[in-house]
């Protein structure tokens, strides 16, 4: 018996346009390309003296962060402001016992204040799906990161970075290195790369940090960094959380760095024009050497700039998809 709601395209409206942005799973290549193209056009806005466009004038965007964040929250705020929206940001601390209630009630309250869009970050995988399905079907929900599951705007800003520096995805080798198991960035990147036609996606890490069945994403698994980095065009390093040393996932930061840290020497195994990416915040000397992070091949700071443009693209597209859906539904009623 297959559950009837299993594959409903929750994040698309009846015309296949974005109305929520929860995950990259199930989104067609054309839609991802549209996000990248739209973001490209917004990059030009960021370079102007007056950095605002009126696309979301009169709309209210609520950033609700149940988990700490600086970069993602700030770039979402900037993106909404550049679209001329009113922006509220809430940092909601979670107590583990009443997590669900807090989430439900907080969002119902914000909804009552006539918010048009929620940007949500939450420690539970599936939180954004839950909100889109149960709390506020008429408010556009943008996933700012849910547990280990997805971080789709980060995924798309990484794709924009790759496209702007490498021109496309068709002939690329991309390596994702480090803690794949706990990384929502890695999951979103693997899906995006596959959808956009990247033929060689590699994940590199020790078995304790690789999810069971990671091959399902269409990736090749390497446990040896020197082997995995050979001739790649793009290296995406992931942040290693300190708490991974507990519970026996890794013996020490030092041993991780020796085996999986990106040093100048190791980077030399990749193509000479390879770029180095990192979702930040970086741990110098844990997963990446300072000389690499600050080096000529690093595009880590460009990623931040592109992040604003990608978030502008997603916010504006989801808002118009949501509006179109409401119009369709009204017409159906009449």
């Amino acid at each position: 018996m297959i559950p009837t709601d299993a594959k409903r395209p929750l994040q698309l409206n009846d015309q296949g346009q974005l109305r929520h942005f929860l995950s990259l799973d199930g989104l067609p290549r054309s839609l991802l390309t549209e996000i990248l193209d739209t973001a490209d056009s917004f990059l030009e806005v960021g370079a102007r003296a007056v950095k605002k466009v009126p696309l979301l004038r009169g709309k209210t965007v609520c950033n609700v962060f149940f988990e700490n964040s600086t970069r993602t929250r700030t770039t979402f705020e900037l993106a909404a402001q550049r679209l001329s929206a009113d922006v509220i940001t809430l940092n909601v601390s979670t107590s583990s016992t009443s997590k669900g209630e807090t989430l439900f009630d907080t969002l119902r309250n914000l909804e009552a204040m006539a918010a048009d869009m929620f940007v949500v970050r939450h420690a539970d995988s599936g939180a954004a799906h839950y909100i889109a399905e149960h709390v506020s079907p008429d408010v556009a929900v943008i996933n700012g990161g849910d547990g280990r599951h997805a971080h789709p705007t980060q995924g798309m800003l990484d794709m924009l970075t790759i496209r702007r520096h490498k021109g496309g995805f068709e002939n690329l080798s991309v390596a994702i290195v480090g803690d794949i198991l706990h990384s929502r960035v890695a999951r979103s990147n693997m899906i995006a790369l596959k959808t956009l036609g990247c033929p060689d996606i590699r994940v590199i890490g020790p078995k304790t940090l690789l999810p069971v069945g990671v091959e399902q994403y269409g990736v090749k698994v390497y446990t040896d960094l020197t082997e995995g980095l050979k001739d790649v065009d793009v290296v995406i390093m992931l942040r290693l959380q300190r708490e991974r040393m507990q519970g026996g996932l890794l013996p020490s930061e030092g041993e991780f760095y020796r085996l999986f840290g990106l040093t100048t020497q190791r980077l030399a195994l990749a193509r000479p024009d390879a770029i180095v990416m990192h979702p930040g915040p970086i741990n110098r000397g844990v997963e990446i050497e300072s000389a690499v992070a600050d080096g000529a091949q690093s595009v880590i700071l460009n990623q931040v700039t592109y992040g604003i443009a990608v978030r502008m693209a997603v916010l504006s597209m989801a808002m118009s998809g949501q509006a179109a859906q409401r119009q369709i539904e009204q017409e159906n009623v009449q």
Binding site: D5, K7, R187
Partner: protein, 423 residues
């Protein structure tokens, strides 16, 4: 009250009976199967042509939620739901508040169940005080108060020596111990079967070995202590194989499986619906098929509902923050009939797994039809259908099957000759 059931297909797996026959009930007992004794005139006659009459179902795992969690369900509401599912006898686990580790709690449950009168209730006592796995509960006192077996739920014993002693103590008095084999450390923090689906959804995994490692240990301890053991809530094909191997080498162990484990797989989690959040978790298609084979072969003798009703709020959160469990007893018979519909089991075999199988596993006086025995029956129409949720008695509406059209419809449930459910 006396009752005559006329023209039903009578199936009694315990005796192998499967024939069109009448059945007569007087003073709570089966008076006769076949022709009525001379001069007998029932006060009520049920025209049962086209219906199947079988022993009332025996469900080894129904959380009644009382005492302690009456917002989720009460003894009255959940036994009423069980009657609607065709159940006449059920076991409730010790996961109450306070824990069922004293005679007082057992007596409270039995009193309220008797008052409600919908089903016979057989409590499972806690094996250790507070289910903490450290000190033994007063097993003999609990037995005398009516507990039919003892278990520790998913709270496994951290200390193997303490568990070993608990088993030896239980063996001394020929008590049955129920195992929910799951290694605490391997399962810690897990939300779903460790596999591609959980990886894709970013949900922390519970590996197959959480079950099999604990099961291996438990089987060896059972063998050494000689305790009567029943393994509850198997979820893996490998686990079912281990039970089969133990039985093959002569260990008299029995096992049950939750009905939903024979139907759903972890793929249902795609979409993050908290209705599929259960513990132990839904496993893979291969596991489901292995469990089905074990049910068919009789390695697993019992199918239970693993009924866990919840209030709405308990499921109203992102997946990981919700409480596990499905409200399932009310659909026990129609949902089980999907296994017949799919051709996995014939009807008498299915009924064996729902009546005599579970009754024998815990030595309950239930699950069979014979003259002079208790008149605990279910009458159902195998050609009708049930729309799940159209009628609902359980306090918990947390069922992923709501709205599904299921085969078969329970018409009458009879407990000690009294009709406890009629539809």
């Amino acid at each position: 009250m006396s009752l005559s059931i006329i023209g039903a297909r009578l199936i009694d797996p315990a005796s192998g009976l499967d024939q069109l026959s009448d059945l007569h009930v007087e003073n709570g007992k089966v008076l006769a199967i076949g022709a009525a004794p001379a001069g007998f005139k029932a006060s009520r006659e049920v025209a049962a042509q086209g219906l199947v009459a079988a022993p009332g179902l025996v469900d080894l795992n129904v959380a009644l939620r009382e005492p302690g969690y009456s917002r989720k369900g009460t003894i009255a509401s959940e036994t009423r739901a069980a009657a609607a599912g065709g159940v006449t006898s059920l076991c409730c686990p010790p996961l109450t508040r306070p824990v069922l580790d004293t005679s007082a709690v057992a007596e409270l449950i039995l009193d309220r169940a008797r008052d409600a009168g919908h089903c016979k209730v057989f409590p499972i006592g806690a094996l250790s005080k507070g289910l903490e796995g450290e000190q033994l509960a007063e097993l003999v006192a609990l037995r005398d108060a009516g507990c039919v077996a003892f278990g520790n739920g998913l709270n496994s014993f951290a200390n193997t020596r303490t568990l070993c002693r608990a088993l030896e103590y239980a063996a001394t008095f020929d008590l049955t111990v129920i195992f929910n084999s799951q290694d605490r450390d391997l399962a810690a923090g897990g939300l779903a079967h460790e596999g591609p689906t959980a990886s894709f959804l970013g949900l922390a995994g519970i590996p197959e070995t959480a079950e099999t490692v604990a099961l291996a240990r438990d089987l060896l301890l059972v063998e050494q202590s000689g305790v009567r053991a029943h393994f509850s809530q198997l979820t893996t094909a490998r686990g079912a194989e281990m039970i089969a191997q133990a039985q093959a080498r002569g260990l008299p162990v029995t096992a049950d499986v939750a009905l939903y484990q024979l139907i759903l797989t972890d793929e249902a989690l795609t979409g993050f619906s908290s209705l599929y959040h259960v513990q132990p978790p839904l496993r893979t298609r291969a596991d489901r098929d292995g469990l089905r084979d074990a049910v068919k072969a009789g390695v697993i003798q019992a199918i239970s509902s693993h009924h866990q009703p919840h209030e709405r709020d308990a499921k109203q959160a992102p997946f990981g923050a919700t409480e596990p469990g499905i409200s399932s007893v009310e659909l026990l018979l129609p949902l089980a009939l999907t296994l017949v519909e799919e051709g996995l089991l014939d009807l008498p075999t299915l009924l064996a797994r729902l009546t005599s199988g579970p009754a024998n596993a815990l030595r309950l006086a239930a699950g069979e039809l014979m003259a002079g025995g208790a008149a605990d029956l279910v009458l159902f129409d195998p050609t009708a259908s049930t729309v799940a949720g159209e009628q609902w008695h359980s306090r918990g509406t947390n069922s992923p099957f709501m709205g599904h059209c299921l085969p078969g419809a329970v018409r009458y449930t009879v407990v000690d000759g009294r009709i406890s459910h009629e539809a």
